[in-house]
């Protein structure tokens, strides 16, 4: 017993734990932050989940060509705990992105980025972008058809850049096409380059927290005055401050336990995202879709006028990064309280509303053709006239319903056709179908005169009243 104690004392003396590390842990922090400040440490906890589950996955994952997909199948279906680990890595990534954004939002709303903590904010913004880089490269390491096409889309986006675009695109692909050198690059970036940057960024971020101290809760009567702030902060802390360990830290630990439980719980109950079909770039039946973090961006790119597109694809990430970094340069003193910063509150409300709406849009993707649409059931066609019945078949067969909704069946790219009979007469329908129109192809070359006539006959029955009659007659027919 005494021997162990003396060994520990020796270690403590030679390592300097009590001299250096303990004072850091016990540094004095404001006592009024309570639960507001748990998001940063929880982000760190999610990062630890990522590092540890990632190392475990890397012991089995084969980062090359076809073998990557085979190893993913092995991890998911055969390896003991493999499914759980993939799930933890996926929900850990989700948690890390969400928590980092919540943490940033809290810091922004409380204006904790003001003097002297400008660099805390800037380093956090850089780490956030690296984390988004991790989620994108991580999604690609799930090397199925979606992974292959996500790389292609990334290369095409980069290829839009003037002059250097094609060179960057070929660096992303590791050649002129997707192939054996593509995945290995993303693997190296995902497991070495970006984690290294995150470790360095977190190191700087935490060092700055120690150097400048944790900010107090905003007080409307205490605007930040750079000339006197540090003295005021120190003197207030002397009166009311508490040691971080363990008076403040226990809340961080409790919240981190909840986050970890949520990550493991999701991994157990929902499992990792399903693997798509194998990574074969010549398989055209893929339906590429980014992971949810980027649905909002996907939505923006779909709804932009094409002439603005290149500028937004290339400009948005740069403007976003610079815009966030300059926040504390823009305003590093004055009020911190949200009640005195209506523009800040408005920005957050607007930003989150836009993010949620665009994310929902990105998920629904009404701009994409719906290739899986079913033919119209007979009771919705509501007619036994052979021309109309044939017309209804043609509307499905010729792909009209990929983009047009007819009585609840079909895509949403183009206008709904459920009451087209009211909006266009026979001549109008023929002109429209033959010539196409804004965002609609011309079908003149793919329809015979008889087919066109049947199709128009069917479309003319699409009026609210005809549907009423149709549903009445089906009800009457049912005993």
């Amino acid at each position: 017993m005494n021997a162990i104690k003396s060994i520990l004392r020796w270690l403590d003396d030679r390592s300097g734990f009590s001299d250096v590390v303990l004072p850091m842990l016990r540094h004095v922090v404001p006592d009024n932050a309570r639960w507001w400040y748990v998001f940063g440490s929880a982000t760190l906890c999610a990062f630890m989940v990522q590092v540890i589950s990632g190392i475990a996955l890397a012991t089995t994952y084969v980062p090359g060509g076809e073998a990557a997909y085979e190893s993913l199948l092995y991890i998911t279906n055969e390896a003991p705990l493999g499914n759980l680990l993939r799930g933890m890595h996926y929900y850990g990534a989700t948690a890390m992105v969400i928590l980092a954004i919540i943490h940033m939002t809290q810091v922004f709303l409380h204006a904790a980025y003001k003097y002297p903590r400008e660099l805390n904010w800037m380093s956090g913004v850089v780490v956030l972008f690296v984390v988004l880089g991790m989620s994108f490269t991580g999604q690609l390491l799930r090397w199925d058809a979606n992974g292959v096409w996500s790389v292609t889309v990334a290369a095409e986006m980069a290829g839009r850049a003037p002059v250097v675009g094609p060179a960057i695109a070929h660096l992303i692909l590791g050649g002129e096409t997707v192939g054996g050198s593509t995945l290995t690059r993303f693997f190296a970036i995902h497991v070495f380059v970006l984690p290294g940057l995150i470790f360095a960024g977190i190191g700087l971020h935490l060092w700055l927290v120690l150097r400048h101290g944790i900010s107090e809760m905003p007080n409307p009567d205490q605007p930040v005055e750079p000339d006197t702030y540090k003295e005021d902060y120190e003197s207030r802390l002397e009166k009311t401050g508490v040691p971080f360990w363990p008076i403040a830290a226990w809340r961080d630990t409790v919240f981190s336990v909840a986050v970890m439980a949520l990550i493991v719980g999701c991994a157990l109950f929902f499992g990792p995202p399903a693997l798509g079909t194998s990574p074969n770039p010549s398989d055209i039946n893929a339906n590429p879709m980014p992971d949810w973090y980027f649905w909002w961006y996907f939505a923006i790119l779909s709804m932009l006028p094409p002439e603005l597109e290149t500028y937004v694809i290339l400009g948005l990430p740069v403007v976003g990064l610079i815009g966030l970094i300059i926040v504390p340069i823009w305003s590093n003193k004055g009020d911190r309280s949200p009640s005195k910063r209506p523009w800040a509150v408005g920005t957050v409300v607007f930003g989150f509303t836009a993010l949620v709406v665009l994310t929902i849009y990105g998920y629904k993707k009404p701009w994409s053709p719906d290739f899986g649409v079913e033919p119209l059931p007979a009771q919705l066609v509501g007619s036994s006239d052979p021309a109309i019945v044939h017309g209804a078949q043609l509307v499905h067969q010729k792909g009209c319903m990929y983009c047009h909704d007819v009585d609840g069946y079909g895509g949403h790219r183009g206008p709904e056709l459920s009451d087209i009979g009211h909006r266009l007469n026979r001549a109008g329908l023929i002109i429209r179908i033959n010539n196409g129109g804004y965002n609609m192809p011309s079908f003149a070359a793919s329809l015979t005169a008889a087919e066109l006539s049947d199709m128009v006959a069917f479309l003319q029955t699409r009026t609210n009243s005809s549907r009423q009659v149709a549903s009445d007659s089906t009800e009457a027919a049912t005993p």
Binding site: T152, V153, R160, E176, S368, G436
Partner: protein, 171 residues
């Protein structure tokens, strides 16, 4: 005399500082230049283009558009299926073909040929092309790219090409 010593001491310090910074820079350059060159090598190492057989003439009825697959020029031993490329091959004459790249010109997603509508459609953002590859609707800025295609001894061959980017046309 004493001032001389201070001066020479300062000189010595500034020389040693510069020496160390310079040597550290040299170490940095020597250990980082080869890796940078290695990572950038796809820019200079252009694989030779190769003609790939995609099937015999009779497999492609006149006027039809069929999906064909071929091996990229730069396939590495471990690439497997990932070194394949698809093309939509359309027979327009006795020995005339058009080989469309499957990549949508908007952001590169794979377009599908909808036979009955005689249209290519993209699942990502709704780009649509006519059977001749011209844009019919949606965001694509230009027509589908084409691969060089030829008929040799009754076999159809496609020439491997880089992925078409909106900023550098194939063929």
């Amino acid at each position: 005399m004493q001032e001389d010593t201070v001066d020479s001491d300062a000189d010595r310090r500034s020389f040693l500082t510069r020496l160390s910074v310079g040597l550290a820079g040299l170490i940095g350059a020597v250990i980082s230049l080869p890796p940078i060159g290695y990572v950038l090598s796809p820019l200079v190492r252009k694989p030779p283009r190769k003609w790939r057989d995609v099937g015999s003439l009779e497999q492609f009825p006149m006027g039809e558009t069929k999906l064909v697959q071929f091996q990229d020029a730069s396939s590495t031993a471990w690439a497997g299926d990932t070194a394949k490329t698809g093309a939509w091959l359309r027979r327009t004459g006795e020995s005339e073909f058009i080989a469309f790249s499957v990549n949508c010109r908007h952001l590169g997603c794979p377009v599908r040929w909808i036979k009955d509508a005689k249209l290519f459609m993209c699942p990502c953002h709704g780009g649509v092309y006519y059977q001749d590859g011209e844009v019919a609707a949606g965001p694509p800025p230009e027509a589908l790219a084409r691969y060089p295609v030829r008929v040799v001894d009754g076999n159809v061959e496609i020439e491997t090409s880089p992925i078409p980017l909106t900023t550098n046309d194939v063929a």
